[in-house]
Every structure is written in structure tokens, then in C-alpha cells.
């Protein structure tokens, strides 16, 4: 599975330009809309959910493609998930579940209900949708921007004495040092390889020793660096308990306004559908669907 799924890709799309805070709120709202319950009729319930999900899926697809979010990687990762889906299918087959509604077919002497199939579908679709959303977010937003957006979002926590600013500072420092620590790791590996360490071969005992020869120097470097970093921060007047001004780099642009409007529209639409208990059967009157419950 490709672990670089969701890594920031520096393309120049409109999504990259939108303020990270808007994107964060959008992400949360999209996720909520995926977990809302749509539909009215208990007999045909859940079909509406699927229908809504398909609409959201099409939206996400458009977003993913237009934002260059590594669609191929996403697809590959999803392929890896088929194992999990198979597992889910098997569980549902062999565990006693609901025994209501229309039967789809029989397998190995057990009855498979439409209800089971539909539910399975929408667990999988939800997963795919959430994955797509977060990928679009992380591949169009720099880690630092994400941290600032999170800091902004969690601001109210300040009032229950959660030290948001200190946590955000710690996170941004950690992010800044990831490439440096990776470089250091490579350096140490090379130095130890020059002393005859083979990270790939050898018995378990040797491999563990090899790992220790990598981890201990890395930790020592990390600790020394933290100490020096703390001195440097203090030397530049850092006081975690005192108020600090912020270097704001992005101005509000038209894209941001449009994004907010689109988001607001989307929200209202979703809430309307949920509240109005809009149902698929409204769209296609007279359609015959297998019953999901009696």
C-alpha cells in the first residue's frame, strides 16, 4: 500500500489557494453529511442513503480529479482494501443478522437479504468517501497550514485551559524537523554501515542490535537538538505564556468567498434533505425496490 497517499502535492489548483481553515471546515461538514441518515420509508430505507452517497461520490470524484490528488494512488490503496471488504462480506454471511425483508439469494444454505447487501455497500462507500475527502484535503494543504487551521479551530478549547498555542507550536516544530531527522537517520545508517552493520541480513539478534545502533544515536541527536532549539527560541524572545502576534501570510481572496458560499449551499442542501426526510421514492414514484424490512 502506498503510504504517500495524501502527501502534499504542490500543484497550482484553485483548491491549493483556498484558505486552509475553509478546507478544514469543509472536510468536517462533508464527513458529517456522509454520516447523516437520509430517507424516510422504513421499508425502503437505506436506498436513499446509497443514492445520496453516490451523489457525494460524484462530487468527490470531481474534486479529486481536479485537484490532482493522486487519484492513481488512491485507486491503488482502495484495491488493497478489497481484502477488508471480502472479510466484511464473509462476516455478514456467516453471522446471524437480520432476518427481515426480501431475500436476494441463497448461498451455502444461508439466506442473503437485500438489507445485508445494501448495508455492506454503504459501509464500503462511506469508507471510500472519507478516504477521498481526507486525501483531497491533505494533498492540497501544506502541513503548516493544516496546523494553523487546527489551531484556529480548537481556539475555544483555550477557555477550558487547554494550551492550544503550545501544542500547535510543538506540532509545527515537529513538522519542521521531520525532513531533518530523516536526513540524520540516513547519515547514521551510512555511518553504521561503514562499521559493518547490515540492516537487511542477519539473525534477529543482529538485526535488533543494528536497529539499536540506529535508534540510540538518533535519540541522542534529537535530544541535543531540542535543547539547542529551546535555547535558540528563548534567545529570540519566545515566551510560551505570553501573547504573540502572528505573521499572517494569506489574504482573503475571491476564491475563499466562493468556497464559503458553495459550502453554505451544500450544507443547507444536505440539512434540508435530512430534515425533510427526502426519499428516493419521491424522485422515482412507482419504482419497485426490494423491501429491506417488513
Amino acid at each position: 500500500m502506498n503510504i504517500t497517499l495524501g502527501k502534499y502535492q504542490g500543484y497550482d489548483t484553485v483548491y491549493h489557494k483556498i484558505d486552509a481553515r475553509i478546507k478544514l471546515v469543509a472536510l468536517i461538514l462533508f464527513m458529517v453529511s456522509v454520516f447523516l441518515s437520509y430517507g424516510r420509508t422504513s421499508m425502503y430505507g437505506s436506498y436513499t442513503n446509497i443514492f445520496m452517497y453516490i451523489i457525494i461520490f460524484i462530487m468527490m470524484l470531481v474534486l479529486t480529479l481536479t485537484s490532482h490528488s493522486g487519484f492513481i494512488q488512491l485507486f491503488k490503496s482502495l484495491k488493497a482494501l478489497w481484502v477488508m471488504m471480502l472479510f466484511l462480506l464473509l462476516i455478514n454471511l456467516f453471522l446471524p443478522g437480520r432476518t427481515t425483508g426480501d431475500i436476494a439469494f441463497s448461498l451455502f444454505g444461508r439466506n442473503i437479504y437485500y438489507y445485508t447487501i445494501i448495508n455492506l455497500c454503504y459501509i464500503i462507500i462511506r469508507l471510500i468517501l472519507v478516504l477521498m475527502m481526507t486525501t483531497v484535503f491533505t494533498s492540497t494543504t501544506k502541513p503548516m497550514e493544516m496546523t494553523s487551521a487546527l489551531e484556529w479551530l480548537f481556539y475555544p478549547l483555550k477557555f477550558i485551559k487547554v494550551p492550544i498555542h503550545k501544542i500547535a507550536m510543538a506540532i509545527s516544530l515537529a513538522l519542521r524537523f521531520i525532513p531533518t531527522l530523516i536526513e540524520e537517520t540516513n547519515r547514521i545508517m551510512k555511518a553504521q554501515a561503514s562499521r559493518g552493520v547490515d540492516f537487511n541480513q542477519g539473525k534477529i539478534k543482529e538485526k535488533i542490535k543494528a536497529l539499536i545502533s540506529l535508534i540510540i544515536p538518533l535519540f541522542m541527536t534529537a535530544f541535543t537538538t531540542s535543547g539547542e532549539l529551546a535555547d535558540a527560541m528563548e534567545a529570540r524572545g519566545y515566551d510560551p505564556d505570553r501573547k504573540r502576534t502572528r505573521y499572517k501570510r494569506t489574504k482573503w481572496s475571491t476564491q475563499d468567498t466562493i468556497a464559503v458560499i458553495v459550502l453554505a449551499l451544500y450544507c443547507s442542501a444536505m440539512i434540508y434533505f435530512a430534515v425533510q426526510r427526502f426519499d428516493v421514492t419521491d424522485l422515482f414514484p412507482g419504482i419497485i425496490l426490494p423491501k429491506l424490512s417488513n
Binding site: 547519515r187 547514521i188 551510512k190 555511518a191 553504521q192 554501515a193 561503514s194 562499521r195 559493518g196 552493520v197 547490515d198 539499536i212 545502533s213 540510540i216 544515536p217 541522542m220 541527536t221
Partner: protein
């Protein structure tokens, strides 16, 4: 132990946007008992070349022969259209066979990185220095003996053996780290800027140590920015610029070549420039004898005598 490098090329990140040519057509030979300096700016390819010497990096094309151990990446064949290309598949196969034996290369070419004290990790000084020999198959007893000998060479006495290396000062840690490589008994010792961050005393001690090692038969290749060190200790100066070797001669020949020095923005050692000025002013200084301030003083006294 001779090292022969032929037409070596190395490029980082081939195919990625960050692709960068680091070494271009390097041809170099190190014979026994040399004390060579590798000079070049950051980005000149020095570190890359050093890592090629002990197989940490494999050349993209070209050949390295370390006393019989050969990495030969020049497996070419000509296509029907008459284009000569390197056979990647054949290369990978040959490489795989070679690489299983790469450990023996690492033992023969002892590589000391910059700030080597950062690779220390064992609980005691003796254990850390024994780590290298142990990895190359020595028994704990053999390794301990090799370690003790190496520590003696670097000037660390027995009182340190059972101490934690992390308690030591920066200079002491560096010596322990270097001992860790010397204990492996390499045929050639390669050091990447070993004196950076040391004060005068530390630097003098280290260079004295390297001179001793060189006298006992181990060849030394060190990369450095310090021209005083090059003049005083080395018998060969190789200058790298943008991945190519632009000069390979004795320090004397290098520093004499004023136009080259200017072009490459190297700064010759003060003692040498001063000696040349003396020569310009009529003193018949034998530049070959000038290695440091003391030897220059000898030359001046020889010519001018002691004034009363």
C-alpha cells in the same frame, strides 16, 4: 592497497525532478602508503566520491577496483540503431552478486564521516569501539584487543574503557569514534573533514594521530577545507569542482599555480603565500621545504643567517 577508479559517474535521483549530476568521469588511482587530500567546495562531489570508495553508493557507470574487489558498471551493449547503452538488467544481476560481498569492501576501506561522534551508541567506550570488529567476524576477545589497540593509538587510556561514551567531551568522543574505525584495521582510512569543530589543540592531536597511522602503513585520504593541513601533512592534493577532478598533484605544485588558485577561489595557506612573497623579494626560498611556519623559519635562517 591500491584503489583504481575508472570513468566513474554518479547522478542522484535519476528520473526525478531533483536529478543532479554529482560525479562526472572520475579517473583516480590511490597507491599504497599515500596521504592524500580531497579538496572542494560544498557541492563539488567530495562527499559523493568518498561514499563511492566504500560502496555506500554504487556508481551509475564506470568501474571501481579496490585491491581486486571490483564494482564494474560498464556493462554496455550497442543497440541495433548503434546506440550504446548500459544493460540495466545485467547490471542489477551482477550487482546483486557483488553486493553480497560488500562487507569485505567496508572493512578494507574505513570511512569516518563528519562529526563521527554522533554514531556512538554502546554503553561503554570499549564496547562501542569493538562494535566494528565484531561485525566483521572477530570474536569478543579479538575485537576487544583490536579496540584496545585502536584506543591506545588515539590516546584514550584504560580508565576510559568502562565509562559511558556519552560522558566524554566532544573531542574525546570524536577520538573514540575514530578508534572505532581504526579497530577494524582497514587498509585505507578515508575521513570526511575530520577536524571541523575542533579547536587548535584538538586539530593538532588528530593530525598527529593520522600521521602516525600513515607511517604504520595505512593509506589516508582526507577531505578538508584547511589548506594549512594540506600543505603540512599531505603528499597529494586532489581538487574537485562540480563533479570533475580539476587538479591532481602535490600540494606544492597546487599552491604554486597562482592562476589556478585564483580561478578556483581556493585560498593557499598563509605560510605558502608569504614564502612566495619572500621569494619575489629576492630570498631563494626552497618552496618544497616549506610545510609550516617552523620549516619556513628554518629556510629563512638558512638563507639569511641569524642576525646579530
Amino acid at each position: 592497497m591500491p584503489i583504481k577508479i575508472e570513468h566513474l559517474n554518479y547522478t542522484y535521483d535519476i528520473g526525478l525532478p531533483s536529478e543532479r549530476e554529482a560525479l562526472l568521469d572520475i579517473n583516480l588511482e590511490f597507491k599504497d602508503n599515500c596521504f592524500s587530500a580531497l579538496i572542494g567546495r560544498t557541492g563539488s562531489g567530495k562527499s559523493t566520491l568518498i561514499q563511492e570508495l566504500n560502496g555506500l553508493l554504487k556508481p551509475n557507470s564506470g568501474k571501481i577496483d579496490v585491491n581486486g574487489y571490483v564494482i564494474d558498471m560498464s556493462l554496455e551493449y550497442t543497440t541495433k540503431k548503434g546506440v550504446t547503452i548500459v544493460d540495466q538488467k545485467k547490471m542489477k544481476k551482477k550487482l546483486k552478486k557483488k553486493l553480497s560481498d560488500i562487507k569485505s569492501l567496508r572493512k578494507r576501506v574505513g570511512l569516518v564521516f563528519q562529526f563521527p561522534e554522533y554514531q556512538i551508541f554502546e554503553e561503554t567506550v570499549l564496547k562501542d569501539v569493538s562494535y566494528g570488529p565484531r561485525n566483521f567476524g572477530a570474536t569478543s576477545e579479538e575485537a576487544a584487543n583490536d579496540a584496545k589497540e585502536a584506543l591506545r593509538l588515539v590516546g584514550i587510556d584504560e580508565t576510559y574503557y568502562d565509562r559511558s561514551p556519552f560522558e566524554l567531551s566532544g573531542g574525546e568522543k570524536r577520538r573514540v569514534a575514530i578508534a572505532g574505525i581504526i579497530a577494524m584495521k582497514p587498509d585505507i582510512l578515508v575521513l570526511d573533514e575530520p577536524t571541523v569543530g575542533l579547536d587548535r589543540a584538538g586539530e593538532d592531536n588528530l593530525m598527529a594521530l593520522l600521521t602516525n597511522i600513515s607511517k604504520s602503513g595505512t593509506s589516508i585520504v582526507l577531505s578538508t577545507h584547511d589548506m594549512d593541513v594540506v600543505l603540512k601533512y599531505c603528499d597529494r592534493a586532489i581538487v574537485l569542482e562540480k563533479g570533475k577532478i580539476v587538479s591532481d598533484s602535490t600540494p606544492l605544485e597546487l599552491f604554486r599555480d597562482m592562476s589556478f588558485i585564483k580561478e578556483s577561489s581556493l585560498e593557499p595557506p598563509k605560510v605558502f603565500s608569504f614564502a612566495m612573497k619572500l621569494k619575489e623579494n629576492g630570498l631563494d626560498i626552497d618552496l618544497a621545504k616549506v610545510r609550516d611556519s617552523a620549516s619556513l623559519a628554518d629556510e629563512i635562517i638558512r638563507i639569511k643567517g641569524v642576525r646579530k
